[in-house]
């Protein structure tokens, strides 16, 4: 038996008895950041590969969501800050060892780029669109002329953004649940998958949807594979990580994680997508909605559960 008591009655708000410094803002942001990363990744990928014509909705229409997702995400991040008036301090320095600094700078670049991306397609999407000012027309013409290199930069940034949403957590070795390098690729894959689900939902082209559904299926399989490896890693690790895994294997997050994330958010939509590819009619929004919902729950569960796990001494 081992018991630990705070004699001096420590009861710091949001720290005792369990750490709860990060509330809904962080998981919401992680979800929206991953979603935007996914949408922008595939939009730029199909521009680079020259398939703009076949993948119209992926390249032109779905990216409309990205700037909104990023701005709402940034808003959530701002709400999370407790010393808000000093937020600009993020941009007076570059800290290579801090994932949050990487993320702040990546967002600083990719958010305006997502706006520019959408703006450069406005005339194609809405033929009557007029920029009113000559300088904007010139800027648009220039962006269209450098679209491929622009897409390369945006694709690289979207990968950094997607990976960063996971590395933000995995850099904290004080929280054993987060402290695994699988979290980077896992959050990236999940982000790409949620971005793809949004694109599939928005696409009105059946052929495009079939291509995207096939990619999404692969992503879901990779995600399931990474989740299995996450737990294999935990169970083969030290006591703090086996205890972290126990939260999901019989502990308080078991049902939320396995039912809402793994079954309803991954396995079930994957089955629906297979059925659709086989020719059965499945409403487009059902698997897409489930993937998005699963992705959101996944991030809430990881942030909540991670803060409960700690070193034992």
């Amino acid at each position: 038996m081992k018991e630990e008591l705070f004699v001096s009655g420590r009861n710091t708000p949001n720290i005792d008895p369990f750490l709860h410094i990060w509330h809904w803002q962080i998981p919401l942001y992680l979800f929206l950041g991953g979603l935007a990363a996914g949408i922008l990744f595939f939009a730029s990928y199909y521009v680079i590969t020259g398939k703009e014509k076949q993948m119209q909705y992926t390249v032109k229409w779905a990216p409309i969501i990205a700037p909104f997702a990023l701005v709402i995400g940034l808003g959530a991040l701002f709400l999370d800050l407790k010393h808000q008036l000093y937020f600009w301090r993020l941009y007076t320095t570059v800290r290579f060892t801090s994932p949050m600094s990487w993320g702040a700078w990546t967002l600083m670049l990719i958010t305006p780029m997502s706006f520019i991306w959408v703006a450069s397609y406005m005339k194609e999407m809405f033929p009557k669109w007029d920029w009113k000012f000559e300088i904007l027309n010139k800027f648009e013409a220039w962006i269209i002329s450098v679209r491929v290199p622009f897409a390369w930069i945006m694709m690289a940034l979207s990968i950094i953004l997607g990976v960063y949403t996971g590395i933000l957590l995995s850099a904290f070795n004080a929280r054993p649940l987060w402290n695994t390098s699988i979290l980077g690729p896992l959050f990236l894959t999940s982000g790409l998958s949620t971005g793809l689900a949004t694109t599939i939902w928005m696409s009105k082209n059946k052929q495009e949807r079939i291509v995207l559904s096939r990619i999404d299926l692969i992503l879901i399989l990779v995600e399931l594979f990474l989740i299995i490896h996450l737990f294999m890693g935990f169970l083969a690790s030290s006591a703090v990580q086996t205890e972290a895994a126990a939260l999901f294997l019989g502990g308080q997050f078991t049902v939320t994680f396995w039912v809402f994330v793994v079954i309803l958010g991954l396995a079930f939509p994957a089955t629906l997508e297979i059925l659709e590819l086989r020719g059965y009619h499945v409403p487009v929004w059902v698997p897409a909605f489930l993937i998005l919902f699963g992705g959101l729950v996944f991030r809430f569960v990881m942030v909540e559960a991670g803060q409960i796990t700690r070193f034992l001494y």
Partner: protein, 177 residues
């Protein structure tokens, strides 16, 4: 120079004087604390052991809070003391998440706050408030590089441990056992 603290767990009676001294000295807001006392009970009756530890920021050599800070507000000054510059801190909470000892807290004014080893006193050659006030003299502070400092002498002839060494933070609070 390397400031460190040794805490004699055999002498500590858990009176809480160090906690109150710190709150008074540093004007810690009501309901918060920069140091605290842990009573660790292990074993089962009648073979029960009690360990009392006065804990605070470990002023780690490999401080994860400094590594994770996106603005550089958390930094290490001469002597290894980990400090937070209030008007550089954005209150993001990364350092709080990164601390295996949960030694930091969000100050009601927004920035993150923690033990400073009473740097304002140490600079004047004094001890931190908690050390000076301890009625059983179980806290020893000083420079590890100076063999005649209080902390060096305390560590010389006793066995000691640090908390969660496996976290890799190289903590500088030594608990004499």
């Amino acid at each position: 120079m390397r400031y460190a603290m040794a805490i004699d767990t055999a002498k500590c009676v858990g009176c809480g004087d160090c906690v109150v001294a710190c709150q008074t000295e540093n004007n810690v807001p009501h309901g918060y604390c920069r140091d605290w006392i842990v009573e660790n009970v292990s074993g089962s009756y009648p073979n029960v052991q009690v360990e009392l530890r006065s804990e605070r920021c470990n002023h780690c050599d490999n401080a994860p809070c400094v590594r994770c800070c996106p603005t550089g507000a958390s930094h290490i000054v001469e002597g290894g003391i980990v400090l937070v510059t209030h008007d550089e801190c954005i209150g993001c909470g990364a350092c709080i998440e990164s601390c295996p000892y949960d030694a930091r807290y969000p100050h009601p004014e927004g920035y993150v706050d923690k033990c400073t080893f009473c740097k304002h006193r140490v600079d004047k050659g004094q001890n931190p408030a908690c050390v000076d006030v301890c009625p059983t003299h179980c806290l020893h502070f000083g420079d590890l590089d100076d063999p005649n400092s209080d902390v060096s002498k305390a560590l010389k002839n006793r066995s000691w441990k640090v908390l969660a060494p496996e976290a890799g933070t190289k903590p500088q609070l030594y608990f004499l056992t």
